[in-house]
């Protein structure tokens, strides 16, 4: 009974909901079924918001662990993290995210650092270009040469000096990338449909978490 409730029922729920989505799109279903499918899609957006809250709980737990154990080198920063988290959350929840104080925090700390953290990949791709992007095999040369032409196409100075860089780069993107990527997209679509079938049939159960039941 326990195994039925904790394993089979969730798998059945997953299958029924997935089939409802598919049937609603491909078949003429009664209005009540269509309304149910529409309502389920909406509830999905609410449940997604709850799953994002899960991530917060996990990170807070990890930080509290480091603070309580006074882990070398980490606990001070974990404590600072939690202090900042608490103050900003209080501001955001007591007033609204619209409040000038919260907007100040967002614009000058979160957004600035988000952009900065993402931008660090610019450093790494340049150092990788120096050390690793070598045309030492046929495949490596086949990767590098169109890549360099596309980089040249994206450089306004080079296009101003020699306009055919733009034509060649555009051809590589529209035809070269278009053809190869289309194959990848079709392959990925077949993979998605196959994985979806496995999920509906109950072979994929990763979303259930640790399965103690057989």
């Amino acid at each position: 009974m326990s195994s039925l409730l904790r394993r089979e029922v969730p798998i059945a729920i997953c299958a029924i909901v997935a089939l409802l989505m598919i049937f609603d799109n491909f078949f003429m279903v009664p209005a009540s079924i269509h309304a149910l499918s529409t309502e389920f899609k909406y509830w999905g957006t609410i449940l997604a918001a709850f799953t994002l809250l899960l991530g917060i709980i996990t990170v807070v737990r990890v930080n509290i662990y480091h603070i309580s154990r006074k882990t070398d080198d980490r606990w001070v920063f974990a404590l600072w993290s939690m202090i900042v988290f608490s103050i900003s959350s209080i501001i955001g929840l007591l007033w609204t995210p619209d409040h000038p104080a919260y907007l100040w925090l967002y614009d000058n700390i979160l957004m600035a650092l988000w952009i900065a953290m993402l931008a660090t990949t610019g450093f790494f791709i340049t150092s990788a270009a120096y050390r690793a992007f070598r045309a030492h095999t046929k495949e490596a040369a086949l990767l590098l040469i169109p890549g360099l032409f596309v980089v040249a196409k994206n450089t306004p100075a080079l296009v101003a000096i020699w306009p055919p860089f733009l034509t060649i780069g555009d051809w590589i993107m529209a035809v070269g990338v278009g053809g190869g990527t289309r194959g990848l997209v079709i392959g990925a679509a077949i993979g998605t449909i196959a994985t979806g079938l496995r999920t509906i049939l109950g072979y994929e159960t990763g979303y259930l978490g640790k399965l103690k039941e057989k």
Binding site: F26, F50, I56, P146
Partner: protein, 206 residues
């Protein structure tokens, strides 16, 4: 007063960005760790605030306005949070299954229509006509078929089919070269915008 607050904000943003880059341009240091911790704190808070407001606006307010069946959706959402307690984590499975079911259904129907059928339609075109030359059309058709064939792992290609698989690999590598060129554009643009902010800030002070 507003100007001072704005200037203070810009200064905070610029200096935090510089502290962030100090780990890359120099070495790992406490300023970077402090910046990282600040980012985590504010980021987590934003995630909490925006999601709570989303739940309030999209579920709680409609429920209190008369749509009482929204309590089922809210209860399903709260069930998800049980995942963090290992003794009661099994309660979250029902809601997760519901969510995965929606995602699976939508992904399958969407892939079948847009990613599979429409892409096949786009491949099945006359060689002459359309916005591309006949050679370009031939290139794309051959590339699509050979790349698809490369991913057939059901059996190892032998004999006459081996060059087809090899050709697929080369077409895919060529396409990835184009990807690489554009990834460089994206990353260098992101970096140059932050460097521009820093330079512009210091120039405005002098």
């Amino acid at each position: 007063m507003t100007e001072m607050v704005t200037l203070l904000g810009s200064a905070v943003a610029v200096f935090l960005t510089m502290f962030c880059y100090s780990a890359i341009l120099w070495r790992d240091n406490k300023l970077f760790r402090f910046t990282e911790a600040t980012f985590i704190g504010v980021g987590l808070s934003y995630q909490l605030v925006i999601n709570l407001y989303t739940i309030k606006d999209k579920a709680v307010v409609p429920m209190l306005s008369g749509n009482f069946y929204y309590v089922i959706g809210l209860a399903a959402g709260v069930m998800i949070l049980f995942r963090v307690v290992s003794k009661y984590a099994w309660i979250s499975r029902f809601s997760m299954a519901f969510l995965v079911g929606i995602g699976t259904g939508l992904a399958m129907l969407g892939s079948a229509e847009a990613n599979f059928w429409k892409m096949l339609e786009a491949t099945y075109v006359p060689l002459i006509g359309g916005k591309y030359t006949p050679l370009d059309n031939l290139f794309m058709i051959v590339a699509t078929i050979t790349v698809l064939y490369y991913f057939f792992f059901t059996y190892k290609p032998k004999g006459a089919l081996e060059p087809v698989s090899k050709a697929g690999r080369y077409f895919m590598v060529f396409a990835l070269g184009g990807f690489f060129g554009n990834v460089v554009l994206a990353r260098l643009t992101w970096l140059s915008s932050t460097i521009g902010e820093i330079v512009t800030f210091f120039m405005s002070l002098f």
